[in-house]
Symmetry: D2
Subunit: 342 residues, 4 copies
């Protein structure tokens, strides 16, 4: 039984465990002041082209989002998100629990652009309503779509002009960077956002996200916020070591490329076999629309989520590939599909 | 340069890394629903003698404290703690950040007993003040002292009689359980508290604390709270695997015994060499009072914190041993001390 | 220049000021423990038929909503509201500021019924999402519509069956009770909700809302919550005196009937003059659709809000009447309208 | 039975009710945008000598404190207060409920000076602890003592030098301004603080406090915060009208002078009759130490709080006078005392 349910079903890339083992017995400072974390910060500063970038390592995406947003906003300031945004749907109200309202906009692609934001600003114009202040986007989005460099440039310029912060949830950032059409680099991420994070958990680490704060005014005292929200690991070294390894020799991008290519191949082959798609995604999540009876048959050998009912007889399923997905699993699924649709 | 600064300076016990490696490539459910976490829950239920105990794995002590306390209390309810309590001093206001006031009591030993609580209850008697509802203790305390079984029985009975919850921060719980005079077992912890946690980070894990909720009324929906506060790891398996390993073959207690015995030996030998102590501690933190010039000399070869100025010429230092402290490091320190005091 | 902008443009009904004057120099206990507040509580208990009802007086609607909801819910529990709900639009994120997410449903009438709630429950089924727990409705709604007794019965029964609390914002409750078709009494409000409030500010008081908690399990320690959120007035007497007066000799309902009848008359006459309406409202807010040029002319003599653009040439305006609206103002408006549309 | 329990036992000064009556039927804008509130703001700007001062009217002291402090601070920033500070004892954890820790210092006089703050700053030096950022003082303090102009200058200069905000709870500010030895004016309050409020509730108003923000960087968006915390009254006029009246013809200071002089006279006469005092207070709260049997006798005719046990046979009581205290009540108490001590 192979699972395409998510991209965190396995442990870590072997090189990461090797590195943890290699440095295991050396004594290090606690709470992220160890040499590995400091070194990983330097590597990230180089990669983003920001020698003064504020970089912090955290345990997971929800934690990172809630610490960042509650640190950046004053109590009456709100966050604009797509309805499908992770903070809006799958974080159990984490942002609201820190006191901030979400203002959600509809978007078929899961992406946000200025035309969607404009009416929110127009509506929220006085003190009986919250004040929109931060735009939250995910890249890739929760629907697998990606912001191109040019889209990000437009959004960033718009946010600047309207005094909005632009924050990017990069839980699967590698998948966006590895997507050639997007034409995006870490340097672009740094230059076109106020803050973003580089997700490790979903790209080969045991756990870990690297928060990068580009906007100088937002970085102050960030470690206080991490500590206060319970996010400062005593053995911060385990995050530092993992990011050192992930970012060395381009491993991070290679893992993302593998995940993307597995999904791209699956999608191409399913399309060839006549399959349509609920949403077009160039990254490691795809959403084929499949006959319910076929879904039932596939379920005997594969795990995946049924994402959305399309009509009486069809549903979109979600297939997620990861750095660890073997070619055989993909071929197996395709074989199963072809057999079932006959 | 050997460090006695804390008990989280090294990585994990080798058996833990081996186990992570062993299960690394198997696919598992996410968010703590994997087989290892489920198995670790069973093991803990057996150890505490509570087949229905609510058990949850979290990343660190501050996170565990803030999630538990904010889950257990209504907004106007407050938490009683010793002034030296970790939540009162070293968690950056994490409890207050969830909306709850701390009511702190003075205690030389770092321990709380009914006589210290009584005046707090007497003072807080109406709705212009917060309502004391939960007693927070650490075992061992932040000063290395330990609650005996009989002290815990007394405190627990008192809390029951005054409608107070009793919650125990067990960041170093192993050290208390391994302390023979205390005469405490995990079963006692379960029977004599409303909730407590078994600390992994400071006893051989990479990270991880196991929350055990004994009071049936407090366990509801606890996973929602974990998720909302950013504490639910996608790869929850890494916590499950570590606790499986720690609790197998008594490893956890053995590691604690080693840490305690190293500290006990250090203390005995220092005492023989004429040293007095700021606080008496039977666990892995000790507080010898040392001449400032001697401290300076020792600092050339060892790292440790200067904890409290005693008089013009003397200070108490804190020496912490861990599961990883080698006998040679202890002998080296003693040698250095003897040489310096001549 | 007469204003139909809202129902809080004047001070208080003269009888209220007289009462404040009458009792002004008598010394009373503070913080709502005065004889007037106690007496007003008794009166309300009689009116709702609940000798054990928890009754508390607060300053305004937003304050009442935020204290009630944050008192009733645990941190991960959320509130279902219509998109047009006051808490969702015009309270500056007050509910989120206490940590709770709103789950908003679309409703043309501003009213909520079980069919709108059901999909919200279906969607929010596990701990990665908030847990729906309280249904917030306004009666009358923000669109002037009213829940009939039978609608409230259905909603209440549904909430019971799904373990949801039903809470009613009664900022303009009098207008609903005075609406004959609704067939609703204070006793019904008490029997068919978990908690509701009787709005004073918008019905003749200087300030003041009377919170009535019907569900015994929700009333505990409510005064702590009021104090903690800054809602306990030192001179609580001023709220007690006002509610004593409002609820004596049926004054409250009479004021509401006047406001409703002024609006009803306005609506009838406008309809006769050919006007249509954006929403049908039997209460003291009406939404006629008027030619923009006519609106401009009317604006020279009357104040009101333009509520919604209908087409290029027409807009819905909002006209609000109050306990203080004189017949002449209404006639004046009608005259102005008739002149302008010629 | 006359009560010396507090200074909010009566209603409002007659001139205030007259003013409310006078303007009662005029229509005004809501939410503090009415002409009276705007005029009262102008008056206050004149009085403090700050034509650009941010001025806002709120309902009560706890509300004002919690809105101000939660508006001024980031989540990890804490508030320094005397242990006897109102926010520390009698606001039901209102500040913590907005997420901020209080750091309390011991002070016999209830006053704070730099020497008390310095060790707090020294202790809180890194991100495992909260960051002290705002100094909260009350003037007069909860013990009736007053900051002199020179003490305030010293404290203000110190706060500036240590990057601390200075915020003054002025629930009884009039009593401090009316205290000649203090040599303080509203202009001084404005020049020597970042923000302070002028208390109305305890000095003749029905309710109302006037927040004055002197520090330009703190005033932004304050109305959002007021709305979000439930503090924006729909009929804001009632606060504006009261402050217009209170601040006209020096009424506010006259009321304070009356209250002070009644208390001063009581204290002088009690001292002459041999009474000592728990704390020395030049304002309208005094704390005579009285034989318990005498207290019992006095309790038959007068209400007051027993504040603190002094020894087996004596207690300090608290006597509070107000703008409404008649000379006869004071004479009555003195007579009772003299009779009882014989």
């Amino acid at each position: 039984m192979y699972s395409f349910k998510n991209d965190y079903g396995e442990g870590a890339h072997p090189r990461i465990l090797e590195a943890l083992l290699k440095y295991n017995t050396t004594q290090e400072e606690g709470y992220g002041l160890d040499r590995h974390s400091q070194n990983a910060i330097s590597i990230i500063r180089d990669l983003v082209g920001g020698p003064e970038a504020d970089v912090h390592f955290l345990s997971g995406g929800t934690q990172t989002n809630l610490i960042a947003i509650s640190s950046f906003l004053r109590p009456h300031e709100a966050c604009i998100s797509a309805i499908s945004g992770h903070i809006a749907t799958h974080e159990a109200g984490a942002i609201e629990a820190t006191g901030h309202k979400l203002l959600c906009v509809n978007s078929d692609t899961g992406k946000i652009h200025p035309e969607l934001i404009e009416p929110v600003l127009a509506e929220h114009h006085f003190e009986h309503m919250v004040k929109p202040r931060l735009v939250y986007i995910s890249n890739p989005t929760e629907l697998g779509t990606v912001y191109s460099k040019s889209e990000l440039e437009t959004l960033h310029a718009y946010c600047r002009s309207r005094n909005l912060l632009l924050y990017v949830d990069g839980a699967r950032l590698g998948a966006a960077l590895a997507c050639r059409n997007a034409n995006l680099t870490l340097k672009d991420m740094y230059n076109l956002t106020d803050a973003f994070f580089i997700g490790g958990t979903k790209l080969g680490a045991l756990l870990g996200e690297a928060m990068v704060i580009a906007n100088k005014q937002l970085g102050d005292d960030f470690r206080y916020l991490i500590k206060q929200r319970g996010g400062l690991l005593a053995k911060g070294r385990i995050l530092g070591i993992q990011f050192e390894e992930l970012l060395k020799d381009n491993l991070y991008l290679q893992l993302a490329e593998h995940a993307n290519s597995m999904a791209n191949y699956l999608a191409e082959q399913l399309a060839k076999a006549g399959c349509t798609f609920w949403r077009d995604s160039p990254t490691n999540q795809i959403f084929p629309v499949i006959d319910n009876q076929v879904i039932e048959k596939l379920s005997q050998d594969f795990e995946f989520y049924i994402w959305s009912a399309i009509d009486e007889n069809h549903s979109a399923i979600r297939l997620v590939t990861s750095w660890a997905t073997p070619q055989e699993a993909v071929e197996g699924f395709l074989q199963g599909y072809r057999k079932a649709v006959v």
